[in-house]
Subunit: 419 residues, 2 copies
């Protein structure tokens, strides 16, 4: 049995050293690593399938549920998707070295902010082996070294994929330690990883709320996280009924199991009598169970009673809580009280209330007349998504390549000294 | 004896509630609060002097050193400076509500990033009572509520100042809890404050390294910090000797006790024989003690031997470590190994090496042909400075009003749903 904390410390130290070379790598070289990895995945399908088969066997013996076995499976489709995603990341603009802004001081100094990598990113995730490739690709493209710790169920698949990434790095003249996977399933390794603040700049956990809470509570390194998405749609007085139905049905039912699906519908009392039965019928037709406030219950006979805890619940399922509100202020107050700072949308025809909703709702994504389902890095145009942050420091909302960088001040002088 | 943890939790909760109103306040109203505070300071000079006198008496009885008594004193000059600084912050542009960028998606969605306040900022600082006013002004202007915890020596002065700030808030229709000072000197209050991650968004410690380490090690809330500034100047082959002398003397001696003063000089070996004796003589004339590498010792007879620990030391004094290096690569390696990610400068006439230094040195401020002393929020043109960060997340380098904000995504649609 090796000394796990010492091994993790060494990996973190090596990642820090490797990060200098990744940070200095040209765009072309980083893209080559990504394309080379895609090629290797194509060439090593049988090897990957074999590693994955062992993971699936072990998982089957442990009696893991079918949904988890499905997420764990490296099918041809999943491998194709990984290769496409590597190609997509390679085709994105390189954020490193971008001059975000530049200005001139009265003494002639030219001051600018230059985008640079964060350094070393730690990713802690659960059962999907494709995260190994997707997350590593984004970290490398943004000039970072990456330390990966995947779910123990996927350990053999992850090792095989990380190996291909490391080899692609070294073949392109980058240190193979630019991508490292923690190869033990012992939880002590995660705890040690979370102490390496000297070497790791940020930890991004990806998974369910228990994983994220565990990471947040045990990390000395800054963690970018979101626990859950209790997303609201507020249908305003005078809203276009067609649009309200279209947006609400999409926000709730297009993919109910994800964090940007609507969980609570707020309806202005002036619209409730006519619109709410119609909305409820459209949602019921898609199999949605309605849990309503007393006013909702009077208008929607098939609704069940919403209890206090319903308002803060992320169902991730075909269930919706519904509340009739007196107006915009009450809607905003409700969101402030029960929301999760994730995503909220207003359906309105009123210019001033649209602007007030955008300004006063402090969630990380606020929409007017659009489905909450657009709160996603790809949909918003970031090109990719490494995660979503519902804490305000560093990044807030969907995170793309830029959020894996920071900026430093650069100053061009011609001999200036301070008086 | 009151229950300190409960009292701190209540303050943090109240700050969170107050933060909504500060976030929604107009620029005009926030500026009125700052100008009203300045007026109140002018009108209450006697009261402030009296509170400060008690602090000074208590500090004198405890035998505090003269330098600390000096920092603690609310002289007329310090009060004037606080009023000027309030006026200056009032005259700065309001970052809140700024649209940082906006773009259009193929489906017609207009996606933008809007600047919003962080929410609640906790400031933990040491003996200077003017920080109470300066930090609160920056937090309020950027739309944040602020929780202050100053040094115990300044408790009466800080209370009197915080009282004026709170009254200015409530007079302008903002909650008086927008500015709160922790009124106990018990350390348990700080420990409890650092646990309020539900209510406080960021902690900014201002003070010496022991304070900052204590805060960083005990906080569950993200901390923006810098421990020290071991700043380097690298004098390149072919550098203008006049400029090299001017910049080095300024960087070391203009104010040696601050974090952006030069602590280590690196000189290219091709320049060392002629330039180093001249540089050393100019520095010696200003009273600087030189601690050199073996090559330095051969060229500068009055230099003492630099020991290994000198290279990582922030002297904050008229002491300088000097090393002769073989070229740019060795200089960058030295900075990587011993630097503190604060500020480094190159003196050069070579275009390509200037660009490489800017690109490859990962410190938060990197200068070409200018004194390290410009690494400061005012000098770089941020208009103000709440602190300096040498960790990369959220802010890196001097922090102004913008760094007290974050951005949320705003989306203007016209009925879009996701396919």
């Amino acid at each position: 049995m090796q000394d796990i904390p010492a091994a993790v410390r060494e990996m973190a130290h090596d990642a820090r050293e490797a990060s200098r070379f990744v940070a200095a790598a040209t765009t072309e070289r980083k893209n080559q690593v990504l394309r080379d990895t895609a090629r290797r995945i194509q060439e090593n399908r049988e090897l990957l399938r074999e590693a994955n088969r062992k993971d699936l066997e072990a998982a089957g013996e442990k009696g893991l549920p079918a949904a988890m076995l499905d997420r764990l499976t490296l099918s041809d489709k999943v491998m194709d998707q990984m290769c496409r995603s590597l190609e997509e990341v390679a085709s994105l603009p390189d954020p490193v070295g971008e001059i975000v802004r530049m200005w001139k001081r009265p003494n002639g100094l030219m001051v600018g902010k230059m985008r640079i990598p964060l350094g070393v990113v730690g990713i802690i995730y659960e059962a999907r082996p494709n995260v190994t490739v997707d997350a590593a690709a984004l970290c490398l493209k943004s000039g970072n070294a990456v330390l990966l710790r995947g779910g123990s169920e996927a350990i053999r698949s992850n090792q095989a994929l990380a190996e291909l990434l490391s080899r692609a790095c070294s073949d392109q003249g980058l240190p193979e330690q630019a991508v490292q996977l923690i190869r033990t399933t012992d939880r002590a390794a995660v705890l040690e990883l979370l102490k390496q603040e000297e070497f790791i700049d940020v930890i991004i956990p990806r998974g369910g709320e228990p994983l994220i809470r565990f990471v947040a509570e045990n990390s000395r390194i800054p963690v970018i996280k979101h626990y859950k998405g209790v997303c609201h749609v507020y249908v305003d007085q005078g809203a276009d009924p067609e649009m309200a139905v279209r947006i609400c049905v999409n926000a709730k039912t297009q993919r109910p199991g994800v964090c940007n699906a609507m969980e609570t519908l707020l309806v202005h009392e002036a619209e409730a009598r006519v619109l709410l039965p119609r909305l409820a019928a459209a949602l019921q037709a898609k199999g949605v169970e309605i849990r309503g406030c007393p006013a909702t219950l009077r208008l929607v006979p098939f609704a069940r009673t919403a209890r206090e805890e319903d308002w803060g619940t992320e169902y991730l399922d075909l269930i919706l809580s519904v509340k009739v509100v007196a107006g915009l202020e009450e809607a905003i107050d409700h969101i402030h009280r029960y929301g999760s700072l994730h995503t909220e949308s207003i359906v309105t025809r009123d210019y001033e209330r649209a602007q007030r909703f955008l300004r006063q709702v402090e969630s990380s994504t606020v929409l007017v007349n659009a489905s909450t389902r657009f709160s996603d890095g790809f949909e918003l145009g970031l090109g990719a998504e490494i995660g979503i942050s519902t804490t305000k420091l560093h990044a807030y909302g969907p995170m793309g390549l830029e959020e894996l960088t920071t900026t430093k001040f650069i100053v061009y002088g011609n001999g200036q000294v301070r008086e």
